[in-house]
């Protein structure tokens, strides 16, 4: 458990960023592999940029308005 926590803190250290990026990657994988979603492929890049910025804003908001600070 200690090792997993150390790896998590080393690479991520932030749950909002991890979830945001994981969701974005999952959606991109779905768009890339499901033929029904193929028309959305042209918007994949834009979606990724918005997801990255969204994760950053989410994580910063949590830090800024956290009562623990």
């Amino acid at each position: 458990m200690k090792v997993i926590k150390a790896i998590y803190n080393f690479i991520v250290g932030d749950m909002v960023i991890l979830i945001g990026v994981a969701l974005a990657v999952t959606v991109l994988a779905l768009i890339n592999n499901i033929s029904f979603l193929a028309p959305l492929k042209g918007f994949s890049g834009l979606f990724l940029i918005i997801a990255v910025l969204g994760s950053l804003v989410g994580s910063l908001s949590r830090e800024a308005f956290s009562s623990r600070r």
Binding site: D14, L28, N32, S44, G45, V52, L56, A64, F65
Partner: protein
């Protein structure tokens, strides 16, 4: 030679080397230089072994598309973490990294253990381990950046090796520069603009992470590689907006704190009748 990879690796490594150097300096001054340098050298050897084995394994066995997706995602997470911390520090919501304070804190800890004996050249296990641990931990981040940057920038197996070599060269130059400057001034490198470096590296890692993750999923970026510059400008602009917003938030929080502070109580004096 891939200059973008080497530069990114140089900047990221410089930040980590400053942090590691501070601890080695404390051990050298308080315990002795022999233990401090042996610990640092042992950690450097461990890191070199890690980069060589992991780097070679990844170069030879993992297909490029999978590598780009996985490493792009890792780079994205790593870059966002650095960028977030740099933005919080710029906006004043997080204290800036103070090498001088870290130096003094570690000095006090070692002195509290009664380990002051810099004049002794006897090998000291505590000093060795402290130096080894700090260089290894900070160096792991450097190794991570060297491997990911070196591999992701490549398009085939030959340029993958070239990419790792470029990134390793950037990290090596950063290490040498920090050691040289540190040896000359013999003090914690508090004047290195650490937050600015972290901010620049955060932007670079996020930019490359987005680009390679997208390419891993078959995204065709407009203008091809030139789009990296556009991405960097987008993230830079967004970061400045976020810093301005968070500064406002901090001001509002300070005003609210002042308003909610209890008013000073007036001391009521009672007349004492004899």
């Amino acid at each position: 030679m891939q200059w973008v990879v080497a530069t990114a690796s140089f900047l990221a490594s410089a930040v980590e080397f400053v942090e590691a150097f501070t601890i080695v300096l404390v051990v050298g001054v308080t315990v002795n230089w022999r233990s401090a340098l042996l610990g640092a050298l042992a950690a450097a050897a461990t890191l070199a072994l890690l980069v060589a084995t992991l780097g070679v394994a990844l170069v030879q066995w993992v297909p490029l598309d999978i590598l780009r997706t996985v490493i792009g995602t890792l780079l994205l997470i790593f870059g966002l973490k650095w960028l977030k911390n740099a933005i919080l520090r710029y906006s004043g919501l997080k204290a800036r990294h103070d090498e001088e304070a870290i130096y003094e804190e570690n000095l006090a800890k070692i002195r509290a253990r009664g380990e002051v004996g810099a004049s002794s050249s006897r090998f000291d296990l505590f000093g060795f381990l402290l130096s080894y641990k700090s260089v290894l931990l900070e160096g792991l981040e450097v190794a991570f950046i060297v491997i990911t940057f070196g591999l992701s920038a490549a398009t085939d197996t030959v340029s993958r090796s070239n990419g790792i070599a470029s990134a390793a060269l950037g990290a090596l130059l950063a290490g040498l520069l920090i050691i040289l400057v540190g040896a000359l001034v013999r003090a914690p490198l508090a004047r290195v603009p650490e937050n600015t470096l972290k901010f620049v590296v955060g932007i670079m890692l996020t930019t490359f992470g987005t680009f390679w993750t997208g390419e891993g999923f078959g995204v065709e970026w407009p203008l091809s590689d030139v789009f990296l510059l556009i991405l960097a400008v987008i993230y830079l602009g967004a970061s400045f907006l976020l810093i301005a917003w968070l500064k406002q938030v901090k001001k509002q929080q300070q005003v609210l704190e002042i308003e909610h502070q209890p008013a000073p109580t007036t001391v009521q004096t009672q007349e004492v009748n004899p």
